[in-house]
Each structure stands twice: as C-alpha cells, then as structure tokens.
C-alpha cells in the first residue's frame, strides 16, 4: 500500500510551515518530504522523484519563481507555487514560469483540494 502513496516535496525556508504542511498532507495520506532551502532542490527532485513539488516563492537568495524555471529546464515534474504573496502576483508568476498553478498559504481547504486535483 505504502508504495502507491503519491509523493509530495515541499520546499520552503520556513521550518514551521514545512512542519505544518507536512503533517497536514500526511494526514491526507500522502508521502511528504520537505526541503528547507532553495538550494539543492534539483538534486532532491532527481533522487526522490516526487509526483508534485510545492514551492515557496520568497526564499533567501534564490526566489521560487527563478528556481521553478531552472527546475523545469532539467526535470519533468509538476510544480505548484505555495506562497503568502497576493494572488495577482501569484497568477503572474504562474503564467511567467509555466508552472501548474498556485496555492495560497494559510488556506488549508485550498491546499488539500488543489493538491488532490493536481495529483489526479
């Protein structure tokens, strides 16, 4: 059974948020891994092969939108922005980086619903 769990990688510089998101999504029955910086994400993706990546945008030195472009050049993985920024700027970032979509941090219902949809 464990084998068929969908894998989610959550990338964020905020450890509190990583902890909360991990627990929330684990409770939903996903296999959740976390990565606490923008650096080393590509390696992490190629080794752990997640089904989806939740990517924060505001991170020290390497912002999520720039990182998304780098990741998509090398890996074939769905990326969803997970950010506290306002929705207008998230929509723009989604269009610009050609990622799957965005989830507003703090909206737990949206998080569960969108993750389920993107993983279909």
């Amino acid at each position: 059974m464990e084998k068929f769990k969908k894998k989610i990688l959550v990338v964020d510089d905020d450890e509190m948020l990583l902890m909360a998101t991990k627990e929330l999504l684990t409770a939903e029955g996903y296999d959740v891994a976390t990565h606490v910086s923008g650096f080393g994400v590509i390696n992490r993706i190629t080794t752990s092969r997640p089904d989806i990546v939740l990517l924060d945008i505001n991170m020290p030195a390497l912002s999520g939108d720039n990182l998304a472009k780098l990741v998509l050049q090398r890996c074939d993985v769905p990326i969803v922005f997970h950010s506290s920024n306002d929705e207008d700027s998230l929509r723009r970032a989604v269009a610009e980086c050609r990622v799957k979509g965005y989830i507003c941090k703090g909206d737990i219902f949206d998080l569960k619903r969108k993750v389920a949809t993107y993983l279909l």
Partner: protein, 399 residues
C-alpha cells in the same frame, strides 16, 4: 508646491503711467511736457473720466518737426492731432490676450500705449507694450523653471511610490507568514485533539503562541511607525532611574538568548542615574536594540553599559554577533531603505525596528550611532539628554 502659472495675470497690475490731460490742452503745452520729462512716452487725453485720445512722443514730435508743424498745430487743441481711435482695453483683461491685440495692430501703431479702463469705461492708466512684453517673457521663463521643478517632483514621487509598493509587498508577506502558521497549527491541533494526543497538542500550542507573539510584534511595529510618520507619537516626561530599567531589559535579553552560549551583562557605576525622559520610549529603544543583538549573536557576550555625563547619558548595547557590513551601516536607520527584495530577503522581520528606534531617539532629543565589524560584532550607542526641558522635546516631536 506652488501651482503652475499657466494663465497670465490681469493687465491692470502692469499700468506704467496714469498721466492724462484734457483734450482741449494746447498742443504747444503738451509738447513742453514731453520736452521736460524725457521718460514720458505717452499721454492720455481724458474728458470727464473717459478716454478720448492718445498722444505718443514719437508721433507728436514727428508731426511738430515737420515743416511748419509747430506753426500749424502749436496753438490748436491737442485732440486735433491725437490718435482718437487708440486701443482701449479693460484693466482685467489677461496679459496674453492684450499682447496679441497690441501686436496685431498696423505696423506704425504697434508700439503705441494701450489705454486701460475699468468696467464703467473710466480711464485707469496707460500700459506700454514694452512693459507687457517684459512681463510675458518673465512669465515664460518662470513657467519653464516651474515645469522643470514639476518634472523633478514627479520623479521623486515615482521613487517614493516604488519604495512604498516594495514596502507593502514586504509587509504583506511578513504579516501573512505568522497568520498562516497560526491557521496551520490550529488545524494540526484539531487533528491532535481528535487523536486525544495531549502531548502533541501542548507542543503545538506553544509553537502557536510564539507565532502569535511574533505577529503582534510586527503589527505593533507597523502601527508605531505610522504613528511616528504621522507625527502622532506623544512624549510623557518623568524623572526616573535608568539603571533598574537597564537590568529589566537585560533580563528580557537573557530570555531571548535562550540556550545559546551568550552572557548578558550590565555595566554601570554604583548609584542611580536619574534622567528626565519618557521611560516607556527609552525601554522600547533598548528592547529593540537588545533583541536585535540577541537575534544575531550565537555565542559570546551582550553588554548593556551606561555612562552619565553632565548633560547627556550614554547607553551602549554591544554584541559579539554576526556584525554589519560597512556598506550597509549608512542605510541602517533610514526608513524603508533596508527593505530588500521581498522575494529573496535573508533576514526575517520587517526591518522596521531600527527605523522606529531612531525615530524614538530623535523624539526624545537624543542621538544614536552604530559601529560594527562584519563577523565580529556590533555596538549601538544612544545619547539621551539628562534634563529634558519640555519645550525642546515638543520641538523635536514636530520635526
């Protein structure tokens, strides 16, 4: 800023001469007036308060110096050779319109004075074309200068706007992060409570408390700064001993330092250091400085020291933390300048603490300075007046 001067002023304010004579004055007498006064360029002929004609120097002299001119006209009333159809305009007419009309006259009349009248057609004075043109060119020069000023101002406003939107993006993120954490934790606590896992519930509750406290600090900072910027921050002066306050702040610093190997010490001479100031603001200044020091110091020492002088008391907050790069020292206290790109900024917090601290020190009539070596530590020094006269403080508050 002054409004742009786009429309021209009324010509009544530019009247050059109020001289007038009766139309029946003999031409010879009029000529004498022109001989006597070399600055007289023209005379109005006025009958019963109404303008009836205009005599200009060049035209009068031209007529009289022609052959037999003086003999022919000298003993006749001036009206016989005056221009009886001069340009007459209302004194409230606009300068640019007056110039247009004056210059659209036939060539030989172009420089003739204009007769000005009031609403009731009563003679008010003469206006020279020269005078009008001088004023018009000054106005033009002014408007060029004003346009340049307006352009500069617009540039500045654009810059301020840019900084503001950067600031808002930054603050938005800073406010949402703890709120989101609180929501997430609340949901996790719900899950824990369903599992009846009291231990987990307790752990999460304490993390939630710290997120809520962090949020409160940010909100307080933003509100304080806007209060300061609006000039609404009041100062309440009291006489108090600064030493116990310093010890209290040191106690708070010890809590903030937590388990890190950092010694917090207070260095002061024996005996009280009485100061007339606002103790709440002084505490806020010191708490801001020490909590920064505690945040950025992982090992070593955090020292709070006080030295009382004749007029000022010096309080220093010194740490052995990460230090500040020399290039960043200048912009440390400047509002908004420390705002990095919200997407890639390195340090948590709004960066408003020092801006507020600097503003509070100013409000109390003091000064603050900083010195630092990157990687070795930072030292902030605050100088506050020992005897604060109320007037001085209020004056500072207005700045």
């Amino acid at each position: 800023m002054e409004p742009l001067q786009t429309d021209s002023q009324p010509i009544g304010s530019l009247i050059t001469s109020k001289e007038w004579l009766s139309p029946t004055t003999l031409t010879g007498h009029v000529a004498d007036r022109f001989y006597q006064s070399t600055t007289l360029d023209a005379v109005a002929l006025v009958d019963d308060g109404r303008p009836v004609g205009l005599v200009t120097r060049p035209k009068l002299l031209f007529t009289l110096f022609r052959r037999f001119g003086f003999e022919l006209f000298g003993k006749k009333p001036i009206i016989a050779i005056a221009d009886t159809n001069p340009l007459i305009m209302r004194e409230d007419e606009k300068l640019d319109i007056a110039i247009d009309r004056a210059l659209s006259r036939p060539d030989q009349d172009i420089y003739d004075e204009i007769m000005l009248v009031d609403w009731d057609n009563r003679y008010k004075g003469l206006l020279s074309v020269k005078q009008m043109v001088i004023h018009q060119s000054h106005a033009l020069a002014n408007s060029v200068v004003q346009k340049e000023m307006a352009r500069e101002r617009a540039k500045e406003l654009e810059k301020v706007n840019q900084v503001k939107s950067q600031f808002i993006a930054h603050v938005t993120h800073e406010l949402r992060a703890p709120v989101n954490a609180i929501i997430g934790l609340a949901e996790l606590m719900r899950i824990s409570s369903e599992k009846s896992d009291i231990g987990q519930l307790r752990d999460r509750l304490s993390v939630m408390m710290s997120s809520a406290t962090h949020l409160r600090t940010i909100i307080t900072n933003i509100l304080d700064l806007s209060k300061i910027e609006a000039g609404k921050m009041d100062v309440f002066l009291e006489t108090f001993d600064i030493i116990p306050l310093l010890r209290e702040v040191a106690e708070t610093a010890r809590i903030l330092v937590g388990n890190k190997p950092v010694d917090v010490e207070v260095v002061a001479h024996d005996g009280p250091v009485f100061t007339v100031s606002d103790p709440i603001k002084v505490r806020q200044i010191l708490i801001n400085l020490t909590s920064n020091a505690a945040k950025f110091t992982d090992k070593g020492r955090l020292t709070l020291a006080v030295t009382a002088g004749e007029e000022m008391v010096a309080i220093s907050v010194k740490d052995t933390g990460i230090g500040i790069k020399e290039a960043d020292l200048d912009k440390l206290f400047t509002a908004f300048s420390q705002v990095e790109d919200a997407k890639t900024k390195r340090h948590e917090g709004t960066g408003l603490g020092l801006t507020i601290t600097k503003n509070l020190v100013d409000l109390l009539g003091g000064s603050i300075s900083v010195s630092s070596r990157f990687g070795e530590g930072t030292s902030f020094e605050v100088h506050l007046p020992i005897k604060n006269s109320k007037e001085e403080v209020i004056d500072h508050g207005k700045v």
